[in-house]
Subunit: 406 residues, 2 copies
């Protein structure tokens, strides 16, 4: 067993060698002494975002006024492409910033159903994020469909064979999270999408917990549909608008369920009949939230500046360090590692199980160390690689040790 | 005919007597010489909004971090009530800030349909706003319903008798704009809602062009459902979140079509089964856009500070002045007044018809006078009473006269 001092030295040396360390200064500073390991729930405000937002509000809105719509109208597409091309391996015009993740799941599932006529089953992994479950359940109830769930080990993530056993030619669509919100388990998007396609179904990927920290190749994987939020690793702010992806080959054939004026081909002609835009734009509905999309842009640009490959490497190292310290300090105190142990099999957070997890999470927070509680009795440790250091991980885990061992 | 000087004196005297004049200073200033008469499309940024937004971003988001959700989660309800109780005659818990107007129309129509089982007809006025038409058409197409349109004189607004002739016991819901986007015609909400109820249908009111400038009594009128945007007279910013209203007596019986995690009764329990919140909260879907809702709050508070009755009086006076000047200067040049002439029958904008409206609107804009073009060949003059003066109206119309008469 290494001494506390040796482990601290290890943290300090990792931070010294970290090429992304300068990015820690790009965020609005925390209160002194606070350690924030919950960027997987809510990222932090980049300094650039605050500066630009004030400019946008005063200049583009306050003085550009209604005329600014000439360029604002393009923002959902431009920032969509920055996300899609820069982070997701999408092609131009396949990603759109709009609405919330939940509304986007609804729009895509409802658009997908008529593309798979006669198929009455939606498949979802048992431990997918609640809102994904809710949206599918609501659609199923209203439209007489069946939701079939894939059993999942909540610490290890879904097995391909378990998915396979739930697939047949009744399945219209499969909804999966690229990285599980609870365990952090990372799925093999290409292999799973192939499997889904083998029964003729469509694959809808929820990228909320992977975008910005896991390099993703939607095109290479053959993914059909995807959604994701921007308020976690992309640091776009609480309730920031989400994005959606539709593979270009599908785009023209899918009919959006909610026909809104921003999805209309020539919106300001105020035509009587709705004709959807030719591409991804048909999935716009109401007026896009301009200042919020600028915040998305700034968050995405900071991520692109760091580089998603470098962020992935750092996230693997940070989460490896979480597990290394947990093995030294926490497992002997009754903790379990409730995430895959191989860094290649998880996203950017590690979940620790302990019978007093909720209480310990609260006690940690009282010491200024912010993590996240998730049922059943789990602490999520999410050292977002753009905004966290190895010293942060050390500080959090030694405090957790001292609390749990007291 | 009065001289230009006499009319200018009249404008100056009106501004001097205007109790709301101090509010002109509460907005981010325009470029010198700009006259903005398009607040009916996009309001202007209040100074308070910019200040508070920077605070919210740095303090509540940057330092409060994930813990701020403890109070952020209440914002859609709190700001909803400020709008509902303060501006719409709603009772507590009947208004919610969420999503866009278009998405809210979709949610409410889809929720209303099962409450009127067997009825397969949606009714809409012919000249309602395009997105209202599109949303209803999309629902009708997908669910095998019929949309019945009420013919409307586009300059005078809908007649009660024309609506009456389209109503029968097949009608599930009637969707109308309180103030028409083109003509500015103001409908009699109470009389029309009574008529709609007389055939057992539900009334959905679009308040986009009336909220903040027309005192509204949803409770007194017996309105069932309503939606509205906040980026026009409420000055909440481009693409700011919208609101929705559901009469309390209906709230518990309506099932939202999009089941999202913020509509779930105990969201952070992350339960497997969706159970909707007991009241209006079931119409929340995804994560609420926090900074944008704060901007709504600040816009609403500025409106409440001025008082909607005072705003109504000023709007009537401003639009009367538009018509007065138009009669003196513009009608002789071939313009028509394409709005109701009685101030009690219109909202806060006046529409002027002219065969070269588009070109004149562009030429006006080049002189720094911002109005709005709408088909067919109409200029909308929208002197938002919180942010415009009588001198603004004078300046705009004399320039229009000089352009049209040249």
């Amino acid at each position: 067993v290494e001494s506390d001092t040796d482990l601290w030295e290890r943290a300090v040396a990792s931070d010294r060698a970290d090429p992304l360390a300068p990015f820690l200064e790009r965020f609005v500073p925390l209160y002194p002494g606070v350690v924030y390991l919950d960027g997987n729930s809510l990222g932090r405000p980049p300094r650039d975002t605050l500066e630009h937002l004030t400019e946008v509000m005063a200049e583009e809105w306050g003085r550009g006024l209604i005329g600014s719509w000439d360029h604002w109208a393009e923002l959902p597409f431009l920032v969509g492409d920055e996300i899609g091309i820069g982070l997701l391996g999408a092609r131009p015009g396949e990603v759109l910033v709009s609405d919330s993740t939940s509304v986007n799941i609804y729009k895509l599932v409802m658009a997908a159903l008529p593309a798979r006529p006669g198929r009455r089953v939606l498949v979802i992994e048992e431990d997918n994020f609640p809102t994904d479950h809710y949206v599918l359940a609501g659609i199923a109830r209203r439209h007489g469909l069946t939701v079939r769930t894939v059993p999942v080990d909540i610490d290890a993530g879904m097995q391909l064979s378990d998915l396979e056993s739930r697939l047949d030619d009744e399945v219209a669509l499969v909804c999966l999270s690229h990285v599980g919100y609870r365990s952090g388990a990372l799925l093999d998007m290409a292999a799973i999408t192939d499997l889904v396609h083998s029964v003729g179904a469509l694959a809808l990927w929820d990228l909320c917990h992977s975008v910005g920290v896991v390099p993703t190749d939607l095109t290479g994987a053959g993914a059909d549909l995807a959604v994701g939020c921007t308020y976690k690793y992309l640091n776009a702010g609480p309730g920031a608008p989400a994005f959606l992806y539709v593979r270009a080959e599908l785009g023209q054939s899918l009919e959006p369920p909610i026909w809104g004026w921003f999805g209309q081909v020539d919106q300001f002609a105020m035509e009587a009949a709705y004709r959807p835009r030719p591409g991804i734009g048909r999935f716009l509905v109401g007026t896009p939230p301009v200042p919020a999309i600028y915040a998305v842009r700034d968050g995405v640009r900071l991520t692109l500046e760091a580089g998603v490959d470098a962020l992935r490497r750092k996230a693997m190292n940070l989460t490896d360090f979480v597990i290394y310290l947990a093995d030294q300090w926490l497992v002997p105190l009754g903790f379990g590692v409730a995430s895959p142990r191989q860094s290649g099999r998880r996203g950017a957070h590690v979940t620790l199980a302990h019978r007093r997890a909720r209480q310990l999470r609260d006690e940690l927070a009282a010491l200024g160390v912010i993590t996240d509680f998730r049922t059943p009795e789990r602490i999520r440790v999410g050292p977002a690689p753009l905004a966290c250091s190895f010293a942060d991980v050390y500080t959090a885990l030694i405090r957790l040790r001292d609390l749990a061992g007291a």
